[in-house]
């Protein structure tokens, strides 16, 4: 077997080339190296559940969105160390219309009272304080309603479904169900608004103590069901989810 004698310049795996003519690297012009067609690097995407859900639901970067797919900043206290939030869902924005209309009406109440001359008998300072008080009440009403909507979230992680709800700013409700114990998922869309704006209720039946988790007034219930099914059908997610 022929072996190259110039062991300083070749690697062990290089093909053996018999070169009998000595070359001077300082005098000779540099030769162009032959172009080698390296195979292009092809990225291989693994079928991750978050990517699949991304495909189902699309994405938005707005923090007010009803769907937050694979959010970077979103987090909750009960999350385990290696648990990944795949989807956070809020109620459809249309449910906020009621309190928004009430707020707008409340803003005009002082004007209506002024027109009716109800407070005219009181001194100006009293009227001013009454107006100020009313506007503060209006603000806190709207603020509370907004917080109620904003922090009422349903979360899909790679391990479980989570329902976090704050009632009247004082009570916190937390419910969870492992994805492995989900039995049935159903949805219902009711009423003219529900049909028109495509929002409804998703009912998740589980085999755990909390036998059902209800996603109320969520947009695109069919997409949420698909996302849950995707999580259920991902063996990788179920087996390694919290251990990666």
């Amino acid at each position: 077997m022929n072996r190259s004698k110039d062991l300083d310049t070749i690697a062990p795996d290089d093909p053996i080339i018999e070169n009998t003519v000595p070359t001077n690297i300082f005098t000779e012009e540099p030769k162009e190296f032959p172009k080698v067609n390296h195979p292009k690097k092809v990225k291989i995407f693994k079928s991750k559940p978050d990517q699949e859900i991304y495909n189902i639901l699309g994405h938005t970067k707005s923090p007010f969105s009803a769907f937050l797919v694979n959010p970077k900043i979103f987090d909750f206290t009960e999350r385990h160390d290696k648990e990944v939030v795949i989807l956070a869902v809020r109620s459809h924005w249309i449910v906020n219309l009621k309190w928004m209309f009430i707020t707008v009406f409340m803003l005009f109440v002082p004007n209506i009272v002024d027109m009716l001359d109800t407070l005219k008998s009181l001194p100006g300072s009293y009227q001013f304080i009454a107006h100020l008080f009313w506007y503060l009440l209006t603000f806190i009403y709207a603020f509370e309603k907004f917080l109620d909507w904003y922090f009422d979230v349903y979360i899909l992680t790679n391990k479980r479904l989570v329902d976090i709800k704050f009632n009247n700013l004082i009570n916190k409700h937390f419910a969870e169900a492992e994805i492995t114990v989900i039995q049935d998922v159903s949805s219902s869309i009711r009423g003219i608004f529900g049909t028109f704006f495509n929002f409804g209720t998703v009912l998740v039946q589980t085999a755990s103590e909390i036998n059902q988790i209800i996603f109320k007034n969520v947009p695109n219930p069919e997409k949420i069901i698909k996302a849950i099914q995707e999580l259920r059908n991902t063996p990788d997610c179920l087996s390694k989810g919290g251990e990666e």
Binding site: P63, F76, Y126, F128, F133, F139, I140, L147, Y150, I170
Partner: protein, 75 residues
């Protein structure tokens, strides 16, 4: 028995002032609870908008405190 409304007005205003002070103090306590709750909520669920919500709750607290001050000073 004749009741003079003009004599009753200062009494009514005094009662109203006490009522306003009591309400505003309760409201101040309530706004403190709101701050506490918003902070607690934002700790429980972390999101992009949380800092702004906390700011709103503190602004509301400040407004409630100003209201108490104004009631005491103006009325």
């Amino acid at each position: 028995m004749n009741i003079d409304i003009n004599n009753l007005m200062p009494l009514f205003l005094t009662v109203l002032k006490i009522f306003f002070i009591a309400c505003s103090l309760f409201y101040l306590i309530f706004s403190l609870i709101v701050v506490k709750q918003v902070t607690s909520m934002t700790k429980n669920v972390k999101d992009k908008f949380n800092s702004i919500l906390i700011s709103f709750s503190f602004i509301h607290l400040a407004a409630a405190a100003i209201l108490v001050f104004m009631i005491i000073v103006l009325l």
